[in-house]
Symmetry: D2
Subunit: 330 residues, 4 copies
């Protein structure tokens, strides 16, 4: 028995956490990728709870940045950025339910150097942007292509190799009536850029529209806390997830569990609001599901809560707040 057997997905999922039908969405099958999370696109795939789906994701630039001499400002065409696979319609999913997405595997796809990072004008955590608008001159553009190998890692330079720690940068369900750029994270998931959304984790999203309409893309081979310059090691991948459906579990924001922690995920600006959202959600979760008095939960998180900064560069910033499972079930 593993932790999976006691996961929320296993205990409450329509498929009981079992892997059932297998599906694929290749690049060719996907055809047109999507740039918004919304209910207006036709489903690319209809699946049942328990489905295991393997998709071929593009990198965030749809592969258009091919060499270190490319100029992002000339190549990228806003808002056609961060292409997403899907949407995937999950049978039976209705507003008020939760969609469970277990991340099974992420593998690089395509010829080396398969990883891309770059400096994009007016984008990033330490530069003037369209939102934090300054008059300072911009930084120069710069592209870096890096080899990514699941075993040997991310070859940053002759001196430095980073471990391959892949995760899904953008993942979530459709809003009910909105269609929101895939560059943004919010209550339905989206561009959270949170490294915990990795193989070994199950992420739970609110279902807002019939069929949930799962989108995903933007896998990162490595990323530091905050995704500082705005561009992680972007890479195209073959990514496999398992979905399940939890009826009647109404979430305000995404939640995540893995072997050791329960996490809540908040996105907002300023950054303290993202932290507040995540920590309030966690406080309430401890009160509703784990027998804590709400104020005791608040006080315990003061001593034992952990915060992971996902991004500090996207239209909303994202953090995960977590607590060790062993404190919840003690």
């Amino acid at each position: 028995m593993t932790w999976l057997d006691t996961s929320i997905m296993a205990r409450r999922g329509v498929a009981g956490g079992e892997q059932r039908d297998r599906h694929t969405i290749t690049e060719a099958e996907q055809g047109t990728y999507h740039y918004v999370y919304g209910p207006y696109a036709a489903p690319k795939l209809m699946v049942k709870p328990g489905a295991v789906i393997t998709v071929e994701t593009h990198d965030a630039f749809e592969g258009k940045i091919k060499s270190e001499s490319d100029k992002p400002s000339e190549i990228l065409n806003f808002p056609y950025l961060n292409p997403q696979n899907g949407p995937i319609h999950v049978e039976g999913a209705e507003k008020g339910d939760a969609l469970a997405v277990r991340i099974l595997e992420i593998r690089p796809r395509g010829p080396q150097p398969v990883g891309t990072t770059c400096l994009i004008p007016e984008f990033g955590g330490l530069v003037s942007t369209a939102n934090t608008a300054m008059l300072n001159p911009p930084l120069p553009e710069r592209v870096r292509k890096v080899e990514v190998d699941p075993v040997t890692g991310v070859k940053w330079s002759d001196r430095i190799t980073l471990p391959y720690e892949p995760f899904i940068g953008t993942l979530g369900t459709s809003p009910e009536i909105e269609a929101i750029t895939s560059l943004q994270p919010d209550y339905y998931g989206g561009n959270m850029d949170l490294p915990d959304v990795a193989p070994g984790a199950i992420v739970y999203f609110p279902v807002n529209a019939p069929g949930a309409l799962l989108y995903l893309g933007d896998c990162h081979a490595a990323q530091g806390d905050g995704e500082l310059c705005g561009v992680a090691i972007e890479h195209p991948t073959t990514t496999t997830v398992q979905v399940d459906l939890i009826k009647g579990w109404t979430l305000a924001w995404p939640r995540l569990e893995n072997e050791t922690v329960m996490m809540t995920i908040g996105s907002g600006r300023p950054l303290e609001d993202a932290c507040r959202i995540a920590y309030r959600e966690l406080t309430r979760w401890m009160a509703s599901d784990y027998g804590f008095d709400e104020l005791d939960a608040y006080m315990l998180l003061t001593q034992a809560g952990r915060v992971r900064l996902g991004n500090m560069v996207d239209p909303k910033y994202t953090v995960g707040a977590s607590i060790l499972k062993r404190y919840l079930t003690a």
Copy 2:
């Protein structure tokens, strides 16, 4: 000759600022109101530059809050809030153009007391919200219905009558591929809740989608700076606007002119980012169109710029930054 003759609309508009065809959208003609700003709804009306359009707007609650004993939390059904008229397709408008919207008249519509304000749980500038998430208990709900008369004003109480100073709370064009809740303001306008968007002003919006797709609604009979509790004196109206089209004028954010000032409008969080956006736009505008060196413009705004706080309650906060026209054309 009035200031209108030298307005940007008159000088650069396809219709030269002339009023041409007249149209109406009654409540019945509108039928279904809209809750997102986006390109996915069929146009309700097709017009040419110079068109004068009279629409019957709902109040932000679609008239559902009828008495002071109503409970907003029981009546309001998120995200079906802030109903909008339109979209109005303006012939010839393409991405990269600007849409001019001159506000001609706003009149209350319907039986007294026609004005509504209220306290809504988890919404407002001085309370815990879904974004600035706190554990404090909520304030009680409260509804206030007030008589609104264009001549005698807004009868707040036996002691206090406020002047009738109506404006359009939510006004703007469609994003290119996004469909965003009408509760939010952003680069395309939307729920700015800025009192300057009033009769006597011309507002310029970026065109992002073919036909511009103008939406409007949410008229306020009176509002203080910041719309503090989140709900101004909301009222249904008969509102008349004139549209014109400025080809090739590419705006990043809305702009406004009236008899005395030029204004740029920014929306963001935290509030200083909204100010930065608005002031940077104004600085750049002075440099591109009024012969200022950019740093001189920055220094002059330091001495003579004015800031109007629109809202500090919506998903993004809105401010207008302005300068007297006489300093631009001296």
Copy 3:
């Protein structure tokens, strides 16, 4: 009878709002100016309530920026900036009281061009700073010297003359045990850079230390909302204020009244927190002193409150929230 006769100072002041003893602090008498607001400096002057005090203020650069070819970064020596007159000890003032400061007159002092503004590296509202830390290259430095005349105004350029609208940029009382840079505004006043702190206004400050210990300096000849580049039209002045003491009026933040409005002043970051502070103070003031139910006050301010942005450049941002007196006393 004027509004002064019904001012809080007149109604509650120990001197009943009367002007009594007259004092001066010339530049020579001041000798050493101060760069912190704190209780550790010996009083420069001991006065009684009702005292009228004329002081010779320096400009914020202590007169060191003498020509347009000066380089601020070479001349200015942080933290020895924004020199303050005082402290002035007011007899009888104790923690828990309020100090009333009526601003009587501000006149330019010294040879023309007496006004200075400039761009300082890493300082200002639209540039990377020590707090909003970016990697972008800085803007160039630039100094502008301008003639300032109380009658003809501030001669910005051949084309543009701004009205002379002087106010005290930095004014307040000492904290109890802290000594805080005169560059910062806070609950005790300080570097608020709020244009309403002008002749015709009475400002009320919390008394935190025995004798209140009033400091003042940093007069501006003109300033836009937000003091955008961080440097208004700085000028040395002869400034006259009248002080009075209100026993037992315990304030959390500064308040201001003039002929038409009551205002509360908040300072903080992000800017919405400054607004929240100011508006909550105003709400509570309306409830405690003007017979409003607190939630009614909150709702009325939503319709009739006004916000003035003081600065968006100092260590804390400052706003004033106000309401027309006629709504308070209706």
Copy 4:
């Protein structure tokens, strides 16, 4: 040989990282504790670089909260909170130098239950505060006393025991002319509430005043990221630190090293500004001392930087940004 031998303290310190003279400051010797970080208090101790100093710290409440039935709002007397030992004058320290503080040991002091946490009205990360000012009713006050044992841990409840992971909550040098409440963190250190400031770490602070004037106090037995309710497991301790002096190393903000990472520490509001400060400092450090091109450093931190949230409750929020030493010296 350990990492200490190659630490900055060992390589550049006046004492070469050696432990020399030993000193103590008992509670009785300290006598009056301090509530501001500033240059106005007489040094309690004069030491030379290499000194090892053992101090008896109070808890943040000076031991006044004795039982779970105490009411913090009745007992605590702002601004006389967070009592500090010191100041300790380090011979030879001048403005422009850096003070190294190696944390050797922290042991609980006094009778059980020696640990205290509590909910204080208008203070904390998920409640309305004096800064993020709301009208919501406050939470109830609540005190929790917990047993703290270095070996068996922090006995939170019958079910939950947290590891004893002590650190110094408030530690730093004096500002040059300011005296700032010990509740605040800033460029000189102070109330950072950052769990990395623990035994095993060396923290480097800018010297701003002659002798550096080291203050310390506020030790925590355990704390989660953000110190959510504002009060960690506070406890009185016997704490031992070693100081050294690095001449001519001019720091803008505190830095920290331990066996595995180099960290920079930023404090500010909003929280993204604290992150920006920390990350910009780290970028610049990598460029100045470790041979990185500045933009390469920025891009590498995007992939490999780590962020630790210290506090999201104090007058400024604190974060540490870090990178593995092995990437710096590869």
